[in-house]
């Protein structure tokens, strides 16, 4: 397979794995208004669950040696259970307060991964993580794994779209737009918010599991808050509230993030090569800002902004 094509397969695999987390965040933030900035924590739980369930104990690491499919399902269950556990105490918080609680949770997960070497390999990480469909379509350079990831994306996309367009999904939007009104109609906002958090986190867990399987090595360094920022950038840029937007955003943001490096390499003289990193970061920031400036609701977002402008002046009048 030609080099560029082989890189493209690799690039698409990474972007698709990210897009699953982005789809999960779309349910939480885009549809329900849950300000979850602990995405990296749920992603990490999925990744570690998959690794611990599937790694062979023969490698001398904490592993159970389960089949990969059980690992993928187990990762989703683990992330879901974890979301349930943290959701019950934290979901009574709203907006900024929920954000503070979730970022704390993400950092807690990362610290546990760093400090429990018996369970997670600690800072040395976990290696020899099995990959599903490894060896299928031999010599295709990872096309089989890409197909598997794309199937996962499709399944998550269809499942979430079905939920979003069901009566259940409309309650989520009602809660997002006006929680008091939704509650007055007899809908338990807490229960729906919790369901949204758990289901969205399961998608993030699946994303983490596929990442671990793809890279075959994980360590706490993979789960720093920058990951949460990337997933948020993908959702906001693609269009918060739209599943298709989450998919497109993942592709665009990951392209901006990685391809800009090559662009700068080609454009800069060798003398300035060492500064290319800083220039790339500036370029990433600039591109993200331009998109937000010219498409404030994202590439595929709803025309109407999430917060009604009309409610703001009415408060001023009062």
């Amino acid at each position: 397979m030609s080099g560029v094509l082989s890189y493209l397969v690799f690039f698409l695999t990474t972007a698709a794995i990210y897009s699953i987390a982005s789809l999960g965040l779309n349910l939480q933030w885009g549809r329900t208004g849950l300000f979850n900035i602990g995405v990296s924590g749920f992603f990490a739980v999925g990744a570690y669950a998959y690794a611990i369930l599937t790694i062979s104990p023969l490698t001398g690491q904490p592993g159970l040696g389960w089949p990969v499919l059980a690992g993928l399902l187990g990762a989703m269950v683990a992330a879901g259970l974890f979301a349930l556990l943290v959701g019950i105490p934290t979901l009574r918080l709203r907006d900024d307060y929920l954000a503070i609680a979730t970022i704390g949770i993400a950092i807690t997960v990362q610290l546990i991964a760093t400090n429990e070497p018996e369970l997670t390999g600690g800072t040395n990480g976990l290696f020899a993580i099995p990959q599903p469909v490894a060896g299928w379509l031999h010599g295709s350079g990872g096309v089989a794994f890409l197909i598997l990831v794309l199937i996962c994306v499709a399944l998550v996309y269809l499942a979430l779209e079905r939920m979003i367009h069901s009566p259940w999904g409309r309650v989520l939007v009602a809660i997002r737009e006006d929680e008091t009104a939704a509650s007055s109609l007899g809908k338990s906002a807490f229960s729906f918010r919790l369901q949204s958090l758990v289901i969205g986190s399961m998608a993030m867990g699946l994303s983490g599991a596929l990442y671990a399987a793809f890279i075959k090595f994980i360590s706490p360094q993979d789960f720093l808050p920058i990951f949460t920022f990337q997933v948020w950038a993908m959702l906001i840029l693609g269009g918060s509230g739209s599943s298709a937007g989450a998919l497109l955003g993942s592709l665009v943001v990951w392209a901006i993030w990685t391809l800009s490096g090559g662009l700068i390499q080609a454009a800069l003289p060798a003398k300035l090569q060492v500064d290319s990193g800083a220039i790339q970061i500036i370029l990433i920031g600039l591109l993200l800002m331009l998109v937000i400036l010219f498409r404030p609701s994202g590439l595929l977002g709803r025309k109407r902004p999430a917060v009604h402008r009309s409610t703001v002046p009415s408060k001023e009048q009062a």
């Binding site: 890279i215 360590s219 490096g261």
Partner: protein, 417 residues
Amino acid sequence: MKGSRFISLGILASLAAASTASACTVTIGSVMALTGSLGALGQQIAEGAKLAVHDINAGGGVNGCTLKMVLYDDQTQPSVGVDAAKKLVSVYHVPVIVGALASGITLPILTSVTAPAGVVLISPASTSPTFTKLAANGTTRGYWFRTVPSDALQGVAMAQLAKSKGYKRVAVLYLNNAYGVGLSGQFKNAFTKLGGTVTSFVSYDPGQSSYTAEVTQAMANHPDGLFLIGYPGDGTTVAREWISAGGPQHFLFPDGLQSQQFVNDVGPQYLKEVWGTAPGSELTPSLNTFQQEFKAKYGSYPVQAYMTNAYDAVMTVALAMDAGHGSSGLVVKNNLRKVTGLTGFPVYAGASQYHHALSLLAAGKKIYYIGAAGTYTFNRYGDTNAPMVEWTVRGGKVTNVGQISVATILGIIKKLQ
């Protein structure tokens, strides 16, 4: 003296003229942290690697071709580093990648990109013991090397040094990453077996504004001194808090803190008794060449760890390509050991020495490269042994005062087992 300098300049000029005539190019890749938490370190290390590329081209290139290094930033982020490595391998078809720095980034590049593709990955700074495990279970397929010794060696060397300086009770404060955990564990094990006591064993996380809690915990049980593992920055904060809390001003520092900047920031008046270790030879002609060339090119002397290791990584790769008359990953993998080790004709750093090496290779001679950071003896896992330098702070300046040979360290390891 003056005359010889003119002659060598003349040689260099003619070499440069010769190298520009070559039409072909050999491209290698490099992935290093140029931004993010290791960015400040990485930019300097990258300059070390680039200096080697310059010297190689001035000395005649690789198999008569111009050597080119494509450098990518990993942003100190594994997913970005992996993507950069994949790009280098797939799009640029590089046979070798020099990097990465943090073990947490080098490991995923190794497992998901370079080892499956048969591309040599040679890191100047990743010291985690996990690499040795991966090599032992076959994951690396022999395509992994590092020009920096695993933490195991330095931990033993430091234990030996501490004991010889009369320390009996040592507190250990270590940075909570692969480097800190690895080195502190090796030290604790060796120092205890040598009859010493580790009075406290405390980790600290990077980027905190204060380390009072950790320092207080480490000061318990009356230690004679402190073994502080980390990098300048957070390390400075910890050392200052230790001093202001009244801890004994007897310090043991590893390679990560062998930095004049660190000494200046903490205050030389508090660092009267310091013993340090770092991989590398005390004084090879190569180190001198490297320092002078670096000064000439960038205006200041190199002061940071791993820059010499990066320079040597590129040099050994180029020599391996020359020795194997090719530039594939397989050629580099099979010839790296043939141009290093301890037997044959020694060659040193610098353009004229590289040119000398080419003529020796052309004459069918076995050569071995003595790098700016010392000699390299790659074992079957791609690990190298290196002697350790003993350093101290004298008159406020970081000064090398002695050397612990590989044989001595291996002897101690054997005795402790």
